[in-house]
């Protein structure tokens, strides 16, 4: 019936094969940036472009900045963005506010060479450590105020703000918890939510670490943390809902385990509507800092660097403090008297010595989680 026509078929196969070979070496050519831009793109400090004023001028000429994964109510980023925008007249495009650190890196890789690529990153430490080849080294003017342990010596990444794991709760619906184990009480039935999946989100990961510390574990042993959540699930207290500002406001998630600055931000926002309180659990103080980095292929290199400078000025750091985050230059600012004392006093008290996980401990914890979390909670 049908005459086999080998020619078109073979042609198809050849075409596919050719495309496959093309695949191996295909990546679109880089769009070459202008001359002035490359000057800023290679600057490792404000001095390289001729001082802060020159940087401001170059940034204003670029006129735009792409940021990513900065929700407006996360450590007061909304105010940070609008203040920067007004001060320098630079339009900021805030993409994907609910993205996480890995999404930021994915976006940078995917949008590389386009004008939508993110200029700056605000990522978790482990993501930064894994992706230093994407960052451009830069030392802000307040560089010396940042503790040694919290920055990369070459300037590729540097901590910006941090906080501790906390329990946020609706004081009118549940009693005040003091430690992580309190959440097992029947008063919390169907109410306890964790901000994300610990195998995917850093905030949730640190929440499990805090649970481990509060349940007899340690920074090396995260199993009691997973066990606590398994117990919460069994008791019916664990709510597998992703807490968002919307769920907190509507009362769907009356208890949220999250960073203290996020919970405190909710308190501020909902003042008058909801009595949202924040407590850092006893003997389960887990701390972590986020880090800033500049995209090596930033479409707006001068604006990116100006943004970093702004974040580390007293004004920028105090804006973060206003969002209940602990800015990294806090100690230096307290000494110099430039800190916003009222906001500083409002930070949730820290009952105990904070624990910061080392890289090795983090890796061990991650492996344990990967193989045990789904069973514990699924």
């Amino acid at each position: 019936m049908d005459m086999k026509l080998p020619v078109p078929r073979a042609g198809l196969i050849v075409a596919i094969a050719a495309l496959m070979l093309l695949a191996a070496c295909s990546s679109p050519p880089e769009k070459s940036a202008g001359e002035g831009a490359s000057k800023a793109a290679n600057a490792t400090s404000a001095a390289d472009v001729g001082g802060l004023d020159a940087l401001v001028a170059a940034a204003k000429q670029e006129g735009a900045l792409n940021v990513i994964a900065l929700p407006p109510d996360w450590a007061n980023y909304g105010k940070m963005i609008s203040t920067f925008s007004e001060k320098y007249g630079i339009k900021i495009t805030s993409a994907q506010p609910d993205a996480n650190s890995q999404d930021e890196i994915n976006a940078a890789k995917q949008l590389k060479g386009t004008s939508r690529a993110p200029d700056v990153f605000d990522v978790g430490l482990n993501i930064a450590l894994a992706n230093t080849d994407l960052f451009a080294p830069y030392k802000v003017q307040g560089w010396n105020d940042i503790p040694e342990a919290l920055k990369e010596s070459g300037g590729k990444w540097f901590s910006d703000y941090g906080g501790y794991m906390s329990i946020g709760y609706d004081a009118s619906k549940v009693p005040a918890p003091t430690g992580m184990k309190d959440l097992l009480k029947p008063a919390y039935k169907g109410k306890v939510a964790l901000n994300g999946d610990p195998t995917q989100a850093a905030a949730a990961f640190n929440g499990v670490v805090a649970a481990a510390l509060g349940n007899g574990g340690s920074a090396d042993d995260i199993a009691p943390g997973v066990q606590l959540f398994a117990d919460l699930k069994k008791a019916g207290n664990f709510l597998p809902v992703d807490p968002t500002p919307a769920t907190v406001e509507s009362g769907q998630t009356p208890v949220v385990i999250d960073w203290d600055y996020l919970n405190a931000g909710q308190s501020e926002k909902l003042k008058g509507k909801l009595d949202w309180k924040v407590v850092v659990p006893q003997n389960a103080v887990v701390g972590s800092y986020y880090v800033q980095a500049i995209n090596k292929d930033a479409p707006h290199p001068a604006a990116a660097r100006l943004w970093e400078e702004f974040l580390f000025t007293d004004e920028g750091q105090n804006i973060w403090l206003g969002g209940s985050a602990r800015p990294v230059r806090a100690d230096a600012m307290v000494k110099a008297g430039t800190i916003d004392t009222a906001a500083y006093a409002k930070l949730p008290p820290v009952p105990g010595n904070p624990v910061y996980l080392t890289e090795a401990q983090t890796n061990a914890a991650k492996e344990y989680l990967a193989s045990h979390w789904t069973q514990a909670v699924g």
């Binding site: 019936m1 049908d2 005459m3 026509l5 078109p8 198809l12 075409a15 596919i16 495309l19 496959m20 695949a23 996480n100 650190s101 890995q102 999404d103 994915n106 990522v123 978790g124 482990n126 993501i127 894994a130 169907g190 964790l194 994300g196 999946d197 610990p198 195998t199 995917q200 989100a201 850093a202 990961f205 699930k233 019916g236 709510l239 597998p240 809902v241 992703d242 509507s250 009362g251 769907q252 991650k366 989680l369 990967a370 193989s371 979390w373 789904t374 909670v377 699924g378």
Partner: protein, 305 residues
């Protein structure tokens, strides 16, 4: 009359497009098909090849089977099992209920407002997945949903005494049927339309009852179409991602969510190839199902031409 051409109307079989035709007649059809093939190659086949290739490489881009071997680890097998369970249950429920609804619609006038309305609604709801569907169900039987509150306040029934199942596999099953049933209606209705009223008359005239009609005539005719549609529903549920992504935030119980975890996790890094391996696994499962579906379609088409 027209100049005689080899492939004239009478021939029921496929025309042999070679003998006696002019050269341009041979090339022109291929000219039309080539852009299509190129387009599909670039945007469909090539990405698939990337995924398949990625499943067989490790992090350093060397070919290896270890990535695939990791899949046999208990965690991933369980995820596949749960995905298959979810898809099978929603396919079965969707197929049966959808066939019922299709029957109810097909026994009415073919151009009436009911049929038009149901078809339009089915067309929308079959694609209505993801975020909007998740929100719809959260608004209905979520913690502060309309039905939850209503049942609690007026009938004293608490939907969630056994735990909040909406955001777990049982919840996914309920939510999936919401788009499986319309899809079944869309796919199965043409088959029901193909049932000729003469067959019913013939059964009646031979003294058969309605039950016998369905059991001996309509049933066997519809069976391939029904099973084919059920398989399509299975593949649809198995591949569904957006709804689960919007609803489930803890535990990644099913395979598409695990793939998302590998691609976007900020805790466990560098597992992109594992994600591709899982993707390859998904493609294999769905390919098997679709092959069966295609076979059944061909069987069904025989009767309903």
């Amino acid at each position: 009359m027209t100049a005689p051409q080899p492939a004239t109307t009478a021939a029921p079989g496929p025309a042999s497009s070679g003998t006696g035709r002019r050269r341009s007649g041979r090339i022109v059809p291929y000219l039309a098909v080539t852009p299509f093939l190129l387009y599909v190659t670039v945007f469909l086949l090539y990405p698939t090849l990337i995924v398949v290739a990625g499943a067989f490489t490790d992090d350093a881009n060397r070919p290896t089977v270890t990535t695939l071997r990791v899949l046999t680890d208990g965690v991933y097998l369980r995820a596949f099992a749960r995905s298959i369970e979810l898809s099978a249950v929603t396919a079965a429920v969707g197929a049966v209920l959808g066939a019922l609804l299709a029957w109810a619609v097909s026994s009415g006038p073919p151009d009436g407002p009911l049929r038009r309305g149901v078809m339009a609604a089915a067309g929308v709801l079959a694609q209505f997945g993801g975020v909007t569907l998740a929100f719809a169900f959260i608004a209905t039987i979520g913690l502060s949903g309309f039905a939850t509150v209503f049942l609690r306040d007026h009938l004293g029934i608490d939907l969630f005494t056994g735990g909040v199942w909406l955001f777990d596999l049982p919840g996914l099953m309920l939510v999936y049927t919401y788009f499986q049933i319309p899809l079944m209606v869309l796919v199965f209705l043409p088959a029901l339309d193909g049932l000729r009223p003469q067959w019913r008359e013939a059964v009646e005239s031979l003294g058969g009852s309605g039950w016998e009609y369905w059991r001996y005539v309509a049933g066997p005719v519809l069976l391939p179409a029904f099973l084919g549609a059920a398989l399509l529903l299975f593949a649809n549920a198995f591949s569904a991602y957006a709804t689960a992504a919007a609803l489930v935030s803890q535990g990644s119980p099913i395979v598409p969510l695990k793939i998302r975890g590998f691609l976007t996790s900020e805790v466990i890094l560098g597992q992109q190839n594992l994600g591709k391996a899982l993707g390859f696994g998904m493609v294999v499962v769905v390919a098997v199902v679709m092959a069966l579906y295609a076979l059944l379609q061909r069987r069904a088409a025989r009767w309903l031409r």
